[in-house]
């Protein structure tokens, strides 16, 4: 699993404060720790920085590259800021996060990727929004995103398609469709495009206590259909366990068996079955209930585990 570490994100109060203070130590530490925890790239989302982009983007790139060698993912809607970052990057091939099928972004961002030899994440989203159905999202990739890359001669290996994870709390019907989108996208083109998702979006607006469980179960399903890259929290040890168990087909303990079974069922286009779980075990019972909300079988509620 290629994890793009998500922790340098302006939504965090600590990140916000460190940025205000231009606290180099804070960002260097956070970047190093993510890489040590297994992140293969580091996402940098400081927002659009409309006023100070010319100073902030080079500053953060220089700061982080002082201590890590991995690719940086420049996560912003500000195209000027993106370019300022690209000009500063000296180490690994950067990732632009992101473009979509919206005309203005699809015009500009891939050209930047081309000019600086970067990879680019492309969202399966049009101006009208995000379609629910898997087919419609695959169509956006095949009809808009991939043709645009071909048009400007951007190598396919530099394209990463993000089919957009939405939260189970409020957009529940999207959750099973996303799984099918990841499955289908791999057959939509030759060579198969790279695919990445923002995993923790699946538990946005969910009470914090339940978020990691929902993320883990969804991850097992997505790994079942072949997901190999995601923007995620590399410090989540239980999530890292799930990744290791599925990647190595380790079934040496009951939880590893359960998560592998979920991945296997999803791979075979089957749904997890009650008999796959030991429902007398509280954790397995919670995992079973989580599969049911993620597949939109049972309506989500914040207290769904009490149901």
């Amino acid at each position: 699993m290629f994890i793009i570490g998500e922790n340098i994100h302006i939504i965090s109060e600590k990140v916000k404060e460190a940025l205000t203070n231009r606290d180099r130590e804070f960002f260097m530490d956070l970047a190093v720790r993510q890489v040590e925890a297994g992140a293969k790239a580091v996402d940098i989302n400081l927002g659009p920085r409309k006023k100070d982009w010319a100073e902030v983007f080079p500053w953060i790139v220089e700061t982080v590259e002082t201590v890590v060698d991995v690719p940086l993912s420049i996560d912003t809607t500000n195209v000027d800021g993106m370019e300022a970052a690209l000009k500063t990057i000296k180490k690994a091939q950067p990732i632009l996060n992101s473009t979509s099928a919206e005309p203005e972004r699809l015009e500009k961002v891939p050209l930047l990727a081309k000019k600086y030899g970067a990879k680019v994440i492309a969202l399966t989203m049009r101006s009208e929004g995000i379609p629910v159905e898997a087919d419609a999202r695959v169509n956006i990739a095949v009809e808009s995103l991939i043709p645009r890359m071909m048009e400007i001669d951007l190598p396919m290996e530099n394209l990463i398609i993000d089919p957009l994870v939405l939260t189970v709390s409020g957009c529940q019907q999207y959750c099973p469709h996303l799984i099918e989108t990841v499955r289908t996208l791999q057959y939509a083109w030759d060579p198969a495009p790279n695919i990445s998702v923002g995993l923790s979006n699946v538990s946005n607006a969910v009470p914090n206590d339940n978020r990691p469980l929902i993320n883990r179960v969804y991850l097992a399903m997505l790994m079942g259909v072949g997901l190999q890259m995601m923007i995620a929290n590399p410090f989540d040890e239980k999530q890292n366990d799930v990744i290791r168990w599925i990647e190595t087909k380790d079934t040496g303990n009951p939880l590893a068996r359960v998560y592998n079974k979920i991945a296997e069922r999803t791979a075979n286009s089957e749904e997890p079955q009650m008999e796959d779980f030991d429902l007398t075990d509280a954790e397995q019972s919670a995992i079973w209930k989580t599969t049911q909300i993620l597949l939109n079988k049972v309506i989500y509620a914040d207290s769904y585990l009490m149901n």
Binding site: G170, I299, Y300, A301, D302, M306, N307
Partner: protein, 314 residues
């Protein structure tokens, strides 16, 4: 050529809920009412019989409201000044049960007095609403619940910010609760879970998924109710409560019902329009699976009742 109609066989069943207790059950109602119990989507008689018909509640208030349409004041007349009189007239108008809405001006003594007066004047099962402010709701509904112990009232309105006190007093005094959430399936289910978690039995919870009037979001309300009902029939126990909605309240706050002047002439007769608005809103909700509709105008009650009669006849 014979055509075979496809039939769904659902694993789940809507919870049956009985409102009101007659003397034999420890109350003073002349009859109780049972709603719910369905095992298929609404009115698909070829799949399963409809065990209980949807019912109509008429909303009355403990004091004459000053913000209701003059069309309502005209039809209820002086009875609006006296909840007992109003209750009697509502029963005559064909209500299956009554909703008594308390007001902010009521003291706990006033509230108890109004509830007792209504229980004395009419034998119909009764729903009692607080004025809709958390603290005041609790202040009024607790003494009401105690004073009417055993009547199997429905106490409302429980919302996610304020349900504990109402549920506790309903449990202690043998009443039911109305659980309201903004139009959202996730929140409806969540409140049912929270109320059940307090120990309230499922046969004493009625859910109110909130609705909008015709032209003001009814389609969203309709979809939410439909989705809840589908989930319930699929076996999700926390969505299996019968549903109660308030088309009267919603329809009478729309411009089309409220205003008789300064509107396009093509809108036609005000009174006819206002009653049509309430009637059409209510019938759409009945068709989406509502078990109780709360109305305000007697003519709407008559028309909705006729429509229900047609829907339930096989």
């Amino acid at each position: 050529m014979p055509i075979e109609i496809p039939k769904d066989k659902w694993p789940g069943k809507i919870q049956s809920v009985t409102i009101g207790a007659a003397a034999a059950e420890g109350g003073t109602r002349t009859k109780s009412i049972t709603i719910g119990g369905q095992t298929c989507m609404p009115y698909l008689h070829y799949e399963a019989p409809m065990p209980n018909r949807p019912v109509i509640a008429i909303e009355i208030k403990s004091r004459k409201p000053d913000d209701w349409s003059s069309l309502l004041a005209e039809v209820w007349g002086d009875a609006m000044n006296d909840p007992a009189q109003w209750a009697k007239k509502a029963e005559e108008a064909g209500a299956d049960l009554l909703v008594l809405a308390l007001t902010l001006a009521d003291s706990p003594e006033d509230a108890v007095k109004a509830v007792k007066a209504v229980l004395g004047a009419s034998g119909l099962p009764l729903v009692v609403w607080g004025p809709g402010q958390a603290e005041k709701d609790n202040e009024l509904l607790v003494p009401v619940a105690e004073a009417a112990k055993g009547e199997k009232l429905v106490l409302g309105i429980c919302e996610d910010k304020n349900y504990r006190t109402i549920v506790a007093t309903a449990m202690a005094n043998g009443h039911l609760v109305q659980a309201r959430t903004p139009m959202d399936v996730n929140l409806s289910k969540q409140l049912n879970i929270l109320i059940s978690d307090m120990g309230m039995p499922h046969d004493r919870i009625i859910m109110d998924p909130t609705t909008g009037a015709l032209g003001y979001g009814i389609e969203y309300g309709y979809s939410v109710m439909e989705r809840l009902r589908l989930a319930a029939l699929q076996g999700d126990t926390m969505t299996q409560q019968p549903m109660m909605v308030t088309p009267g309240f919603e329809a009478w706050k729309t411009k089309e019902s409220k205003v008789g002047e300064g509107v396009p002439e093509s809108w036609g007769d005000w009174k006819a329009r206002a009653i049509n608005w309430e009637t059409l809103t209510a019938i759409a909700l009945v068709e989406s699976g509502a078990d109780i509709v709360v109305l305000r105008h007697p003519e709407s009650v008559k028309r909705v009742s006729e429509a229900i009669g047609e829907l339930i006849s096989v």
